[in-house]
Amino acid sequence: MSTLALAEIPLDQRRSGYEQLSTASKAMQDDDTSNPGTLTVLDGEALWGRKVGDTGKSCADCHGDATTSMRGVSARYPAFSPAKGRPIDIEQRINLCRTEHQKAAPLAHESRDLLTLTTFVGKQSRGMPVAVVNDEKTRPFIEAGQRSYRARQGQLNLSCQNCHDDHWGEKLAGVPLVQGHPNGYPLYRLEWQSIGSLQRRLRNCLIGMRAEPYAYGAEEYVALELFLMWRARGMTVETPAVRP
């Protein structure tokens, strides 16, 4: 456990990226009718009830009303999958449901339908604390994620830690540096002008650092996502958030 505590931002100094938003962007996130993420959540309500696959089942057929059955679920993902012997993120969990229970093809990463479902499910955790599990099964993966986080990489030889632990609050090319917490994903990024996943954002960072991004769905991302969620434990889920 001691390696995890090293160089962490003290728990009481952690700040959500929300706090560094402009007043207008905060208003955009807070008001459901001006948050473009709400449009995705509404699409999710419809998709939740759509029958798919060989079984002709919808998510609702097994899970019923998402506002109760999915409450708090995203807040504890990535979670350990006994079947896979490793943690999986919410995208992989949804695709497991699709292939095993709906007998439907898995949804591609960053596809509209997958984003719609992950945003809809994520919204059911809004306002709740991030609550991923750190136990003997997940710890090796959290530590692997932490090693990724601290490793210098790419042409700029930067690690995530260099900016997001050591220099958060300062500016990079005129833009305030955030601590980099994943508590708002999937979120509406102004730069993308669309909703996007945590993996898409991590890829942006890797490309920005001139490092080779892993392929979508790589285990390295899940370990990093799990570490980031552990780093953000107890912070409030804001999905769907708005960020620049």
């Binding site: 459901d32 001006s34 709400t38 449009l39 509404l42 339908d113 719609t116 002008q193």
Partner: protein, 107 residues
């Protein structure tokens, strides 16, 4: 699955009160000035006009250009004159059309 529009209209208002109406619609608003990965120009695909009618009478109209950000958000005001229906209508390139309605009770 089609785009949806979000309308924020107060459900109730006093006669003569000035109310704010907020509208948000899902649309890529492709400017027509961007190039794809092989250098080809991505064709324009935007919402070009948006109107609001209050019990059949047009109270607000707007013409949108590529400079309007994706997922157009437009807010305006109107005087709550009587109970009834606010009808919203968007038209755009490639035959895009969307309508939404909101009811208001004016006492």
């Amino acid at each position: 699955m089609s785009a949806r529009a979000l309308i924020n209209v107060p459900r109730k208002a006093k006669r003569g009160e000035v109310i704010e109406i907020k509208t948000l619609i899902s649309h890529i608003m492709e400017t027509g000035f961007r190039h794809g990965t092989t250098g080809e120009l991505i064709p324009r695909d935007i919402i070009t006009s948006f109107t609001c009618k209050y019990n059949g009478e047009e109270i607000f109209a707007t013409q949108l250009y590529p400079a309007i950000a994706a997922n157009p958000f437009v807010t305006f005001h109107t005087v709550a004159t009587e109970s009834g229906t606010l009808a919203f209508h968007w038209i755009g390139d490639n035959g895009f059309e969307m309508t939404e309605e909101a009811k208001i009770a004016v006492e």
